[in-house]
């Protein structure tokens, strides 16, 4: 095999992967640590499971996997490490049951450092295997950093959630992540068009501030095909923003500002799908390794989570029945986990 030393293998990642990812796969990212990604991923998965869907939650925070702990599973039989290293060749073998009969977990492997940076082939293998899992929804919890790994998983999933807080550092963090993901997507989409690639490289090299608004315009102006292709990309690149630990209505204003800023500069729509308040109940449930949705189903955070579901059009049961409101939703949550400590509520 001849390896072109100038071609970075990671650049072809999404090209191979995108073909196989399913529409019902959600990635959860943030660009900054500690914004509440894992909490969101767990509770979103639980909510979908409560509505009867078969859900698989994947801990792809390869450097800091903690979902198994947060779900009270202390000794998973297998983790992604075993699959990535080839000790287990069939991904469904490493599915762990959770307290919910409809939710299964793929644990991340944290015990060796090398897993946090899998090689290209390993990533492709993982994404392919994820795409073949039998489930209604797959929720992939990512790590906080702007790495190829996280960008590629984010781009490979048809729906990407970004969990942020209304604080400068968190906003900048998700913006950087989102921009890196978007430009990476463009480079992948236009990988066979050297002229467009040169526009993108030029844009990167000149410094974003001068050329930023020209990027989309320059690609559009290049040719009719490029314009069509770009419009198709912009239509499918629809990240969903979740404000977490919200403490004031100012978050709504930030959401609007970010929407306009992104639309103006990059031409895609950043939909804010919810505002989850800072809630003591979330912390208490987290400390007990339980999803807040089950421990404190009536909490403000649970209500906000339901609103996220509704904003995303996910408020349907597996049988296609529309959930008409929060109290309707709670009825499903209650029957979901008979074994859970619901009685103590």
């Amino acid at each position: 095999m001849i390896i072109d030393p100038y071609h970075h293998p990671a650049d072809t990642m999404t090209a191979e992967a995108e073909v196989t990812m399913r529409r019902s796969t959600f990635a959860v990212a943030s660009g900054k640590g500690g914004t509440g990604k894992s909490t969101f991923a767990i509770n979103l998965s639980m909510a979908l499971a409560a509505l009867g869907h078969e859900v698989i939650l994947v801990d792809a925070d390869l450097g800091g996997a903690d979902l198994s702990t947060l779900l009270g599973i202390h000794a998973p039989r297998y983790t992604l490490k075993d699959f990535i290293q080839g000790d287990v060749s069939y991904l469904p073998e490493i599915l762990e049951p959770t307290p919910s009969p409809h939710l299964r977990l793929i644990c991340g492997g944290t015990d060796i450092i090398s897993v946090s940076n899998p090689y290209y082939q390993q990533k492709v293998k993982l994404i392919r295997a994820l795409a073949q899992l039998q489930a209604d929804y797959i929720v992939v919890d990512l790590g906080p950093d702007i790495t190829f790994n996280n960008l590629d998983f984010f781009n490979a999933a048809p729906v990407g959630f970004l969990v942020t807080q209304n604080m400068d550092a968190m906003i900048l963090g998700f913006y950087r992540f989102l921009k890196a993901a978007f430009v990476r997507r463009l480079k992948q989409e236009f990988r066979n068009e050297s002229y467009i690639l040169s526009i993108i490289s030029d844009f990167q090299n000149r410094g974003w501030s001068h050329a930023r608004r020209d990027l989309i315009g320059s690609i559009r102006a290049a040719s009719r095909e490029a314009q069509k292709h770009l419009d198709a990309v912009l239509e499918t690149f629809q990240p969903k923003l979740v404000f977490n630990m919200v403490e004031s209505p100012a978050a709504r204003k930030t959401a609007d500002q970010m929407f306009s800023f992104i639309l103006e500069n990059f031409g895609f729509r950043l939909q804010t799908v919810g505002f989850i308040p800072r809630d003591r109940d979330v912390e208490k449930a987290y400390a007990r390794n339980e999803p807040y949705l089950l421990r404190f189903p009536r909490s403000a955070a649970s209500k906000a989570l339901y609103e996220v579901l509704a904003a995303c059009g996910l408020n349907y049961t597996r049988d296609g029945v529309r959930v008409s409101g929060f109290s309707d939703f709670l009825a499903y949550v209650k029957v979901e986990v008979p074994g859970w400590n619901l009685l103590k509520i």
Binding site: I3, Y6, P9, Y119, M167, D168, I171, A180, G207, K253
Partner: protein
């Protein structure tokens, strides 16, 4: 050329005994962010910044207007 003339392989590393594909191929180095285009050998393309200082400033201004109503920090 006979076998004797062949140079011995570079002895520094033995065969890769780890499982899976040969990991010495296609290493992915996250430190190369963002988007290195090594074809041009341009040092600036190894710049790790995703945003420029001007852009950061512009963004901060937008989310944090003069009043303290915007995002806190």
């Amino acid at each position: 050329m006979s076998d004797d003339d062949k140079k011995p392989p570079i002895p520094a590393r033995g065969p890769d005994r780890r499982r899976g594909p040969d990991r010495r191929q296609n290493p992915v180095d996250p430190a190369d962010l963002p988007f290195p285009d090594r074809r041009k050998g341009d040092r600036r393309q190894m710049d790790r910044r995703v945003t420029s200082p001007e852009e950061t400033e512009e963004l901060l201004k937008i989310i944090k207007p003069d009043t303290d109503e915007g995002a806190g920090g």
